[in-house]
């Protein structure tokens, strides 16, 4: 019979793999995990926290700009989405990054409807990822609390 630790570890492994397979994360996330060790055990959590704060701030800026009907500052939207694309790329947030690329295209062609739709999707997507990573970190905590080690997952 599986111990609690073994069960949790299997759950963790499966969940991690699914996040990659479903395109939520790419190998830049793996690169970040390499930078985490006993000296910096919360590095990944700290970086993604900064990323989600960035998302909130930049999406809010873009929403405000798009709200100025008739006088939308597409340059501002463009530079905000460029920043968001950059940070999503740096943390391996693959789906968010993809949507940023689409949003940038809408912005460049000053496609107002497209921008609004896309921004909504970016908002949903980052919140989805945030919830999923929270689940993943919770699993890690449970494993550690049960006295186990967090398994290395090879994608």
């Amino acid at each position: 019979m599986d111990t609690l630790i073994a069960q949790l570890q299997r759950q963790f492994r499966d969940y991690t793999i699914s996040l990659y397979h479903q395109g939520f994360l790419d190998d830049q996330f793996t690169e970040l995990k390499k930078l985490q060790d006993e000296c910096s055990p919360d590095f990944v959590a700290e970086v993604v926290t900064l990323f989600f704060e960035d998302c909130e701030k930049l999406i809010s800026n873009m929403a405000r700009a798009l709200d100025q009907t008739g006088n939308v500052d597409f340059k501002l939207v463009g530079s905000s989405v460029h920043q968001l694309k950059g940070s999503s790329s740096s943390v391996g947030a693959k789906r968010v990054k993809g949507l940023c690329i689409t949003l940038k295209e809408c912005c460049d062609s000053q496609n107002y409807e497209g921008c609004v739709r896309c921004l909504q999707q970016v908002d949903i997507e980052y919140k989805t990822l945030k919830a999923k990573l929270q689940d993943l970190f919770n699993l890690e905590q449970q494993i550690v609390q049960a006295g186990g080690r967090i398994p290395q997952v090879d994608i």
């Binding site: 830049q28 690169e31 970040l32 390499k34 930078l35 060790d37 910096s40 590095f43 700290e46 970086v47 900064l50 990323f51 960035d54 530079s79 460029h82 920043q83 694309k85 950059g86 940070s87 790329s89 740096s90 943390v91 391996g92």
Partner: protein, 209 residues
């Protein structure tokens, strides 16, 4: 030696030559807080001392190149490498690169440019202006390790060049000076010809990578 020197010698009383391996001090410039956190970690994990700033302007202030208040307290500032993002509001990474290369204090410090965009004319322009390397974001550990080895190798070669010129100078001194015997302190650095010291230092460095 010039600003950005890596070489430091510690000679214990026994007279044994030991070389400390000083950390590289890197100045990282990026307007993204996420990227600053990542590059800082990448560099720290590669055993570098890191200072991060959020803009080209702040970088110039840090280096004392902003034409502002006295650079007098900055004469001991040692920066071995500057890593900067290209696209930043205000001063771009390219502008920063130019200002660094124009300065007498820091023109020898290698500058690496990072960008999320793979634009060939941009890359060429940066390399032409004297950038050491152009890294495509997201930056990986392998990139940082490679850059570090490059910097260490450059510093070691610079040392070898210095040791050769010192050797020449030493010979000239020998030829021209009259014999003077003075009591030598065993722990004195002067005992060992500077050329030998430099050479052993660069050899030690070479064994690091």
């Amino acid at each position: 030696m010039a600003v950005g020197e890596v070489m430091r010698m510690e000679i214990p009383a026994g007279g044994d030559l030991t070389v400390t391996t000083p950390e590289l001090h890197v100045l990282a410039v990026d307007d993204s807080i996420v990227d600053r956190k990542v590059i800082e970690r990448l560099l720290r994990i590669s055993s570098c001392k890191v200072t991060t700033v959020e803009s080209g302007t702040r970088a110039l202030q840090y280096l004392g190149l902003d034409g502002g208040k006295g650079a007098s307290n900055l004469k001991d500032l040692k920066v071995n490498l500057i890593v900067t993002d290209y696209s930043m509001p205000g001063l771009t990474g390219y502008d920063l690169l130019k200002k660094i290369k124009e300065s007498s204090a820091f023109r020898e410090v290698p500058v690496v440019i990072m960008s999320s965009e793979n634009i060939l004319p941009r890359i060429e322009e940066c390399l032409k202006e004297g950038a050491e390397e152009f890294l495509l974001k997201p930056v990986k550990l392998a990139d940082v390790k490679r850059i570090k080895q490059l910097i260490l190798k450059n510093e070691a070669e610079e040392c070898k060049t210095l040791s050769h010129s010192n050797k020449r100078k030493l010979q000239e001194d020998c030829d021209t000076s009259s014999s003077s015997s003075s009591s030598h302190d065993d722990s004195s650095v002067k005992d060992t010809p500077s050329s030998k010291r430099m050479k052993s230092e660069s050899e030690n460095l070479s064994s690091l990578f």
